[in-house]
Symmetry: C2
Subunit: 219 residues, 2 copies
């Protein structure tokens, strides 16, 4: 780990490929999501050990809820399970998403204000029933959308800071609506493996690649 | 070309690597930009021939103007030259950027309303002194930020539609502030070659890759 001299402060995680993984294993599409919970913890533990300050998981979006109801229920449950388990660890936990929609799981309402669990060693954010449109239009009448020294203003996700590195599983090289403001200067690293096939080595590959990216913010 | 069954309607171009290319050739950094003009035309001609409906070039941003003045002058001039030459072709031309800043080249003011040149065969957009922050805050008091059937509302770049494919030269896998709303569902294809080393084959590689990307918009 000593060769990782330049660590991202904030890592965004797009855990894609659960349904494709399930089909390949002979399961139904919706059965893939529950296999994405353990990888989430393993990744949390690894990032904690490495000293990463903040991480944000892409749970599900309003776009995703247009899928068949069996799938929607499955990824809602996976998000609830993942957040509730993290509440037993050391994390400053925050769930961000549109709570006014019935698709937001009620069990997660207590987490929509940032709460310290245990020693609160890392900021961990979950996007749950997230919608980039909702995020950007949240408080536009009050203040400008802005990033100042990593502090974001004027959007619903204001308490999630600028992202340095986004790691996406499942081979697609796109944002799919993931935190457009926080991602504006982020480096994207794409893994072809599906999210339930997570291994520590994949994250090391991403972090090694990140060593060679210069951060200029356009300057 | 017959195997390209699925063409993107709108391609975003991030022509990065001009300075690194110049240094490698033994030139000064600022000398790279003028070598980026011919590739822009070649690419315009190729996209026209292929039947692409719209393309957007990343000229320069407010972030970029923090660079040394020699470089700023060089990329300003390259943008003016590129736009003025395209005005002799068949294009529905539009320049988008913050015209209230002195860094916006006055020569390009006539192009900040979409204007048809020749047969207007393709929508061609140039971002010049563009700033994502300025874009998103432009008219927030009047309407929500939104995408409806490719029509974008509530931002300065409202007349630039949703982007399907972004091709970036110069090896970096990031947006660097490029049209955050239009890019929300875009697939990114990264080329390691520097922009002045543009070849048609690079674009074919990107378009062939694009065949295998599914467009789900999160559904």
């Amino acid at each position: 780990m000593n060769h990782l001299k330049r660590l991202p402060k904030h890592i965004g995680i797009i855990p894609d490929g659960n349904r494709r993984w399930a089909l390949k294993k002979g399961f139904e599409k919706q059965d893939g999501y529950k296999f994405g919970i353990q990888p989430g913890f393993d990744l949390y533990n690894l990032c904690l050990k490495l000293g990463i300050e903040e991480m944000t998981f892409y749970g599900f979006t309003s776009d995703n809820t247009k899928r068949p109801s069996l799938q929607t229920k499955a990824f809602q449950k996976a998000c609830v399970d993942a957040v509730e388990c993290l509440a037993n660890r050391d994390a400053d936990l925050l769930v961000v998403g549109n709570t006014e929609s019935p698709l937001f799981p009620k069990e997660l309402l207590p987490y929509t204000k940032r709460t310290r669990f245990g020693k609160g060693l890392m900021k961990v954010n979950f996007l749950v029933n997230y919608d980039w449109n909702w995020d950007l239009n949240y408080s536009k009448k009050n203040s400008d959308v802005n990033i100042n020294d990593n502090l974001i203003e004027g959007i619903a996700s204001f308490d999630i800071s600028r992202i340095d590195l986004i790691i996406r599983w499942g081979g697609r090289c796109r944002l799919s609506g993931f935190l457009p403001i926080q991602s504006i200067y982020a480096d994207f690293y794409i893994l072809d493996e599906m999210w339930p096939d997570y291994t520590i080595e994949q994250v090391y590959k991403a972090l090694e690649w990140y060593q060679d990216q210069d951060v200029t913010l356009g300057g």
